[in-house]
């Protein structure tokens, strides 16, 4: 090859490279993996997995990794500072305050979620459940609270309390049911257990406004709370000595109890077992909001836009309607909740009535101080270790001490 050609070829190559550099690159889609730590279980999870599979099918560059760590709170404490945490946490709204104090989750106001969007998309209870300290910390997925799910085959109308606030009536009905059938009318996993959540319809039904309010004031030794505790002790005579989720479910299936005081999460299992059930609101249950929160790690990784998109998708009306029809959950998205098909679900109607009576769970960090004292006190009352008044006084002291630690 002639040496003269070298400069020409070199120039041509340089021009070619330069042009190649100038041509706009085809927009390269960045592949992202979004990790979600959640609390969904069993049958519930199947439909949810499908919803996320639909999302990844429509967004091939996004991979969604669902996992359910054993102990989320402690796992987060280690994972977030190491940059190994999830992008999204699916959790109940009472965890918001604690996680915000710690800095594990970020406020969504900075990432395009506005109060207007929130109020126009979700139910008021859902909106209130995710706003704390003037900021939006999560998007609400569904609402839940507990009600009496009864076996229509053995609990006839005469045993159904007519007024959801008449606890004496419930006791009388339970007593009569036991006399007539030899079985127990109501099973509740909080009876004998350390479980303030499942005790909530009773305490709030007796007029306790909240275990601990937004300002950190505990209401545990009020006359109403003591009356509720005394009723609990009385109700022990017409209950099983031991109650738990599994015991209640098994007893309901075997016809050994008439009613199970539980939430929407139990409905799928009950339907599968073929029980003809009805749902009766009773007392004033805690209204918990299941939410999706965005972690600090998601922002550190630059995933915030995808994360917000997934959160909006999953909590939106379309997905929540589908989930509601399969899982019998009560959507927080207004459009999904008002959908005629959803409204026609007996579970939604029944639990919806219970939620309307309920007390919203507060996202304030004080919320986390309520579970231990109330749970321990009710267990001590049930097991006869303390009188209702003494147990509630001790619970008040313990709750005040827990709140004082925060201040």
């Amino acid at each position: 090859m002639s040496k003269k050609l070298f400069p020409v070829i070199s120039i041509l190559l340089i021009v070619a490279f330069a042009l190649a550099a100038c041509t706009p690159k085809p927009t390269e889609v960045k592949n992202v993996t979004i990790t979600i730590w959640h609390q969904w279980d069993g049958k519930y999870l199947e439909a949810i997995q499908q919803a996320f599979a639909d999302y990844t099918a429509a967004h091939p560059n996004v991979t969604i990794d669902l996992s359910k760590p054993e102990d989320v709170a402690n796992a987060l404490n280690v994972a977030i500072p190491a940059g190994e945490g999830p992008d999204i946490i699916g959790w109940a709204n009472d965890k918001i305050g604690e996680q915000a104090l710690k800095g594990n989750i970020v406020a969504l106001n900075d990432y395009g979620i506005t109060q207007d969007f929130l109020t126009s998309t979700y139910e008021p209870a859902g909106v209130n459940g995710v706003v704390w300290s003037g900021k939006i910390w999560a998007l609400p997925e569904s609402q839940e609270g507990i009600a009496l799910i009864y076996n229509k085959a053995i609990v006839t109308d005469e045993y159904l309390p007519t007024d959801p606030m008449n606890f004496d009536d419930l006791y009388a009905k339970a007593e009569k049911f036991q006399e007539d059938t030899g079985n127990v009318l109501v099973c509740n996993q909080a009876f004998g257990g350390s479980d303030a959540y499942h005790m909530s319809p009773i305490f709030f039904g007796f007029g306790v406004p909240s275990y601990i309010d937004e300002t950190g004031k505990a209401n545990l030794n009020t006359p109403e709370a003591i009356a509720a505790a005394e009723w609990l002790l009385k109700f022990k005579d017409v209950s099983l000595a031991e109650n738990s989720y599994d015991i209640c479910f098994a007893a309901l299936k075997e016809g050994k109890v008439g009613m199970w005081w539980t939430g929407p999460w139990a409905v799928a299992g009950i339907e599968e077992s073929g029980i003809d059930y009805g749902i009766l609101p009773f007392g004033r249950p805690f209204v918990g909001i299941k939410t999706l929160m965005m972690t600090k790690n998601a922002v550190d990784r630059g995933n915030q836009d995808v994360v917000i998109d997934i959160m909006k998708y999953f909590t939106g009306a379309e997905v929540q309607k589908k989930l509601s029809l399969i899982n019998k959950t009560i959507p927080a998205a207004t459009e999904a909740l008002l959908d005629p098909e959803v409204q026609a679900l007996p579970a939604v109607a029944g639990f919806g009535a219970a939620l309307n009576l309920g007390v919203p769970m507060s996202p304030s960090p004080y919320s986390s101080a309520q579970w231990d004292p109330v749970g321990k006190a009710t267990q001590a009352i049930w097991q006869g270790a303390a009188t209702p008044a003494d147990a509630m006084a001790a619970a008040q002291t313990a709750a005040e001490e827990a709140v004082a630690q925060m201040k």
Partner: protein
Amino acid sequence: MSVWSGRRRALTVLLFLLPTIIAVLIFNIYPTILNIYTSFTTRNKYKPNPDCSVALSGVLDPLCWPVFRDTAPVGLGEPYRIADPPFKNYTDLLGKLFAPPALISLGKMLVCLVPLIIANAVNKRFAKEVTPPLASGWVWLMAIISVVILGFVLDFFAALATLMETGDFLVVVLRTVMFVAIRVPLTFLVGLILALILNSQHLPGRTFFRVVLFIPWGASAVAILIALVWQFFFRDQGVINQLLLAVFNYKGPVWLNSPVWATVVIVLADIWFSYPFFMVSILGALQSVPNELYEAADVDGASPWQQLMGITLPLIRPAIVPALVLTSITAFQMFGTAFAITAGGPQLGADKPGATEYVMVYAYRQIYQVSNYGRATAFAVLIFIMLFLATLYSLRITKITKGAR
């Protein structure tokens, strides 16, 4: 042969030791120091993050280290600080232990135990004499009678109740000590009896029984799961109550709701898990006892009981004592069985630890359920001091490390 200069030699030695020193610093010393520091702070779930401008936090808390500093979460919560007063976590735990009423109670309880100390001293002195004026059994009997009388006079149980009111620490520790005191001797007894049976030459199928009886030890690797089976036995509608109803037509109690029965169930389950350890240790030791001794004893007309007390036990003592110490330590650290069966319950009220909330269960609850890191670490420091003293004392008694220099 070259003679090393002092400095070079020291450097070489240091280089050889360095990996170990670094490992000890990282895995033993640093966590201990961080734990002690945390026990003087207000760290809990509401004040989770460090204030890195505080010198000690800046050095000790990993969240302040350059590696994590950028990714460390900064929440709305206040950072934790040194408690005010610094000993607050300790005073919360030990409560009124150092107030006059508690000290008086403690004094009374110690006075009740004085006759035992005297009896021990007297016996030691008599042992040196050729013909002791009084048999040691009598001395102990007198001492025990004196203890009972003193206990009544000084009202031992009232004093104990006063002490139990002083705060979580003593309640939890005393309950754990009680658990150890019941569980270890019983396990030893079961292990000893089974070992003696299995050691018998006349037992057909010895190997089979040795394997079968050893199974619980294997199961203790998954103690929490198997403990759930025990819980299932003792539930209100569990196997035991169903059997009681079917066979004796007797409605059994709700075992796990009663503080006493719940403790009994845990003790039973834990004995089941741990007797094979004693059984095998004793069985091994029994092999080393020469048969001639028993033959000689037989010739002398010694009864089996006398042979057991005079030959077997003294000769297997060197094997048993370390086993006893080890088992006591593991029993003190009881967690899996108790947590799986009762989770520390039954609860006695919001301001008290549960009836089976032993040391480890209490620590677990403080960290994982209440997230009160300050108090939990203070608790750990107190337990450490206590166990350290107990271990030193037991080393003196057992002389396990004698010869290891």
